[in-house]
């Protein structure tokens, strides 16, 4: 399972690039909507991976732990918003999935997590502080669900720094 090394993921300390993406066919979500509280960006290759507790399903179960840090989470992939809607309904997801669909992968490219070879985003995580600065980022091997421990460690560090 070779991973592409071409991606240059934005590191901690970088300003999180702004974005405005569809969460539903008629709703747009922007980075600035989340100012004032920590935000988790979870890029993932595609909806509908055939396992229980895939990455998005896992985060759905862990939402309460994220909320303890007042953090919001959004998932981002290149799937269209109708696809996201069906996936979210099927998996009973309680957080938004954003479509990096047109131009395809534009936001993922800004964050340095687009896989040109496959035409999908990397499996990558960012924790963004309330002012819009990336405080932690992580590029996972695309076949490995990174879990939530790194996110929680980053949120904990962010909280204790105050």
């Amino acid at each position: 399972m070779a991973t592409e090394t071409a991606s240059k993921i934005l590191p901690a300390g970088a300003a999180a690039p702004d974005f405005s993406l569809h969460s539903t066919p008629d709703q747009l979500v922007s980075l600035s909507d989340f100012r004032g509280a920590p935000l988790i960006l979870a890029f993932y290759p595609a909806d509908w991976s055939p396992v229980c507790g895939d990455q998005m399903a896992l985060y759905n179960e862990v939402l309460a732990e994220f909320h303890k840090f007042k953090a919001a989470i959004v998932g981002i992939s290149v799937d269209g918003s109708w696809c996201h809607a069906a996936f979210a309904l099927d998996r009973k997801l309680h957080f938004p999935l954003l479509s990096d669909f047109e131009p395809k992968g534009a936001v993922a490219r800004k964050y340095g997590v687009y896989r040109d070879s496959d035409g999908v985003t990397e499996r990558a995580l960012f924790v963004i502080d309330p002012k819009g600065t990336i405080v932690w980022s992580y590029l996972s091997p695309v076949g490995v669900n990174p879990g939530a421990d790194g996110i929680l460690d980053a949120l904990e560090a962010l909280t204790s720094k105050k």
Binding site: C52, G53, A57, R91, V144, N145, P146, G147, G150
Partner: protein, 178 residues
């Protein structure tokens, strides 16, 4: 930056855990599992075969990781196993639940308590009161902090096993760890 750098078991196996096998076994295989998850159901006979193959070389530990949003019966099933544990029959209930994954309604759980000759009124009372929910949730949280990324997730001597969980792969990973 390795994917497994942070995927270490927290907290380590302790007295509070459900453990089958000798404390001095060179290999500790820990599973975070969900009683309603079909993949955990697939893993169940594999783990049994592995225990048979390795005998007292391995100790098995089970922690609850119910994906309650995806599996509506998983959390109650986990509580039932804990309620059985309170009466000294954790593994018996654990096995019954995995052998009857398609029958995990509350009345089924009571039937299993009867089959195991538990003190059923006590079992029912504890289930109704959610007496073991906190334990189940604590297991879940420990899993999240340990890097559990779905079910089942195995840890071999405290390190997350990221490969497949067929018998051959698990045996190979165990051999490497031991």
């Amino acid at each position: 930056m390795s994917a497994t750098a942070s995927a270490k078991l927290k907290p380590p196996v302790g007295a509070n855990d459900h453990i089958e096998g000798p404390a001095k076994a060179p290999v500790t295989l820990l599973e975070y599992g969900d009683y309603e998850c079909p993949y955990c159901g697939e893993a169940y006979p594999i783990v049994k075969a592995l225990q048979e193959r390795l005998g007292d070389q391995v100790r098995l530990v089970f922690r609850n990781f119910p994906l309650a949003e995806a599996h509506p019966h998983a959390e109650h099933a986990a509580e039932a196993a804990e309620a059985a544990a309170a009466q000294g029959k954790f593994w018996e209930m654990h096995d019954l639940l995995y052998e009857n994954q398609d029958a995990l309604e509350d009345q089924d759980l009571v039937q299993y308590a009867e089959a195991l000759k538990l003190d059923v009124p006590r079992f029912v009372k504890e289930m109704k009161a959610g007496a073991h929910l906190e334990r189940v949730r604590a297991d879940f949280s420990s899993g999240v902090r340990s890097g559990v990324n779905g079910t089942p997730t195995f840890f071999i001597n405290g390190a997350r096993h990221d490969g497949p969980f067929d018998l051959r792969s698990l045996l190979a990973a165990i051999e490497e760890a031991a």
